[in-house]
């Protein structure tokens, strides 16, 4: 005879299994619901966290403290540079608007285990799986992988699952970019080519993952290998995922 306690135990196990199965089946509406529910709070938290925690901002802050005295002397020179920079950005924006049409979105959060961000635009706004995401300076950020009604998931180019064709010294060396969490691996650059630290990497024409000519990053390491006929090279992406607030989705 099965005791009442054991019956309850089996009943609870069956109930939990049923709940899990139900959750797995209904995962998309559940995810969508909770992303929408936390939308406003997440926007605020993301901006506060970015302000407090961004490595880039902390480094910039430290540098600014160090060169404070120098800045006082160079303030006029910097104002001129700032004006030039603004003009340059305007020019870039014009070029950007001529090339593509966009959906503007805000970053809400980053998932626990991968290089994936959640943004506040979804299928209701015309977002679709596979769309490319860039920032306002034409820097490649990633690709849409999951779309809900009002939110989407965007995989960053630094995710190890991402790889795409790139070119260095536009339109010179062709290579392959592989995501590597904190930076990118630049693969398939033959040893006989000239690759230097600081070279700018773009998306290439000979691939169908991303549109061509988007900025990717700068070469941070370029060593010729004796073992293979290719360089061992790394690229630092131009974007910092933690300081992103607004992104552009290319339609």
């Amino acid at each position: 005879m099965i005791s009442k306690r054991e019956k309850n135990k089996y009943f609870n196990i069956v109930l939990i299994v049923l709940v899990i199965v139900l959750l797995v089946i209904l995962q998309r509406p559940i995810r969508s619901f909770f992303y929408n529910l936390g939308d406003n709070i997440q926007q605020t938290l993301w901006e506060r966290g970015r302000w407090f925690g961004s490595k880039k901002l902390r480094i910039e802050n430290q540098e600014l403290k160090d060169i404070n005295e120098e800045l006082l002397v160079k303030v006029i020179e910097l104002n001129e540079l700032k004006k030039q920079n603004e003009d340059f950005r305007k020019a870039l924006d014009l070029e950007l608007n001529d090339d593509f049409t966009f959906i503007e979105a805000r970053v809400l959060s980053k998932v626990n285990d991968k290089e994936v961000l959640i943004i506040n635009k979804g299928s209701d706004d015309g977002v679709d799986i596979g769309m490319t995401v860039i920032d306002f300076e034409k820097v490649l950020i990633g690709r849409i992988t999951e779309v809900f009604n009002k939110t989407s998931q965007l995989i960053l180019i630094t995710d190890p699952d991402i790889k795409f064709g790139a070119s260095v010294h536009d339109p010179g060396i062709r290579a392959m970019i592989l995501g590597s969490k904190d930076d990118l691996e630049l693969d398939l650059v033959p040893n006989f080519e000239e690759l230097n630290i600081g070279d700018v990497v773009y998306t290439s024409y000979n691939q169908d993952v991303f549109p061509p000519n988007l900025l990717v990053g700068k070469v941070s390491r370029a060593e010729k290998s004796d073992l293979t006929s290719f360089y061992e090279a790394r690229v630092i992406p131009f974007f910092d995922d933690y300081s992103l607030v607004h992104v552009l989705i290319i339609r």
Partner: protein, 147 residues
């Protein structure tokens, strides 16, 4: 039942803070896991599996793994903590040992599933629990001394 409703709301805010705020400092700090462990240490034990289920659901919602992985991991954690609590003494040293075991196991599971092992995450998470248990120990000690 109050504990379940409290966890439902509390864990929701924790996951928002974890994925939108703490992610800027370290991506491996897992508030949900830490508070699940704390709840299991100091709770009455009646609704442990339901609380584990809630924690797992929130982690799954804000994850890119196959939905259900975190639910199973959290239920496994509930099962192990309940078993270990019944075997070992109830006290801070035992809780620290159990915490370390659970955190290492958690990282090993995700090393197997996602090919990642966050050693700094393990250290931060363990230090958080050491701090929490230390405060709780001092609080209990003072409370006992007063009464």
């Amino acid at each position: 039942m109050k504990r379940v409703f409290f966890s439902l709301i509390f864990f929701f805010f924790l996951i928002l803070i974890q994925t939108s705020f703490f992610v800027h400092f370290t991506s491996s700090f897992n508030l949900i896991l830490l508070f699940l462990i704390i709840f299991l240490f100091f709770g009455k034990g009646k609704y442990d599996y339901i609380i584990g289920l809630i924690a797992g659901i929130y982690l799954d919602i804000f994850s890119s793994f196959f939905f259900g992985i975190y639910i199973l991991v959290c239920l496994l954690i509930v099962f192990l903590i309940r078993k270990l609590k019944s075997i070992l003494d109830q006290g801070v040293p035992s809780y620290l040992m159990i915490s370390l075991f659970i955190l290492v196991l958690y990282e090993l599971i995700f090393l197997f599933l996602g090919d990642r092992f966050y050693i700094m995450g393990l250290i931060y998470n363990f230090l958080f629990l050491v701090l929490w248990l230390g405060i709780k120990y001092i609080y209990d000690f003072i409370k006992e001394a007063i009464t």
